[in-house]
Amino acid sequence: MKKLTLFLMSLALCMQAYAFMPGDDGDRLLGVWEPSNGRARVKVEKIGSKYYGKIVWLKEPNDPKSGLPKTDINNPDANLQNVPLKGYRMLKDFVYQENNQWSEGTIYDPLNGSTYSCTIKMTDPNTLDIRGYIGVSAFGRTDVWKRLAVKK
């Protein structure tokens, strides 16, 4: 009986640790993240109840031709092509769904001006699986993002 109690307590502790402290809410996504290509850093913030990620650092912040800071030149809306790329929200409208997953959002690729449906899964407190897709999640691509200031 004592062994069983100990086992159950250990199991409960392990499950709690797996759920990532502190608390079980979407704010764990807040912070600065780096995609696998290392060309940008994205800061996740909250507006209302949704999560948004904006570019806060670029490996190449300036346009090589003009020498000026890059803008969103591939935006399909010509009126917005002058929006600075540094500060642009490439992750938009994510809603926390429990189990360390955020969905309902989109990811924008400034290189071609395309927007894709996207889901985020936090595989550990410092790692995200970002899956962009068109239509069905099965037909997509996953990128691994790392948190910049590592949480211990």
Binding site: G48, D77, V83, P84, K86, D93
Partner: protein, 173 residues
């Protein structure tokens, strides 16, 4: 077969014209809204967002044109002006981007207007609105967020406060 088509067209065409003719004429009204955006210092170089929760009040926007149950068909941002508290209020701001967001999962954030670079010696910045952003669904909600991203050219210790004056073109029946 051709006769059937002609008969169908002859009956259906006038019916459609009659139905369209019965619809009330679409009208347009400009509604003005003012709100303040505040940033608490210290602020860092780069983009700094401020969000303002806006309670939708069509009666206030439409004035005496407002009627209960009226159908709003289209809303667009017509003009966006941001001004600092003093003439030096926009100093150190390199760009301004305005967006709209909602807690409703079916309403994605939209960028509405931009000014880059900011050149506003008078302390007033006129942003260039995007006519492609259709906003009637946002105004059908009880509330939404207006977000202003101020791109700072350098770190700043002081708070920042900008007053926004926005004109919305509202089409209704």
């Amino acid at each position: 077969m051709n006769l059937r088509k002609i008969t169908f067209g002859a009956l259906w065409g006038p019916l459609m014209l009659l139905m369209n003719g019965c619809q009330p004429e679409s009208k347009t009204q400009i509604g003005t809204m003012e709100c303040a955006f505040e940033w608490s210092g210290p602020l860092y170089e780069g983009s700094n967002p401020a969000q303002e929760l806006v309670k939708v009040d069509l009666a206030s926007l439409l004035g005496n044109q407002f009627q209960e149950g009226m159908k709003i068909t289209k809303i667009q941002l017509k003009s966006a002006e941001l001004s600092g508290d003093s003439a030096s209020g926009l100093n150190g701001i390199g760009s301004l981007v305005m967006s709209i967001a909602s807690d409703d999962p079916s309403l994605p954030m939209k960028e509405l207007a931009v000014l880059n670079p900011v050149s506003a010696p008078s302390g007033q910045a006129i942003l260039k609105p995007s006519p492609e952003a259709e906003l009637s669904e946002f105004f059908a909600q009880k509330e939404f967020y207006l977000v202003v991203d101020a791109g700072l050219t350098a770190d700043r210790d002081q708070n920042l406060r900008l007053t926004g004056k926005f004109q919305w073109e509202i089409q209704y029946r």
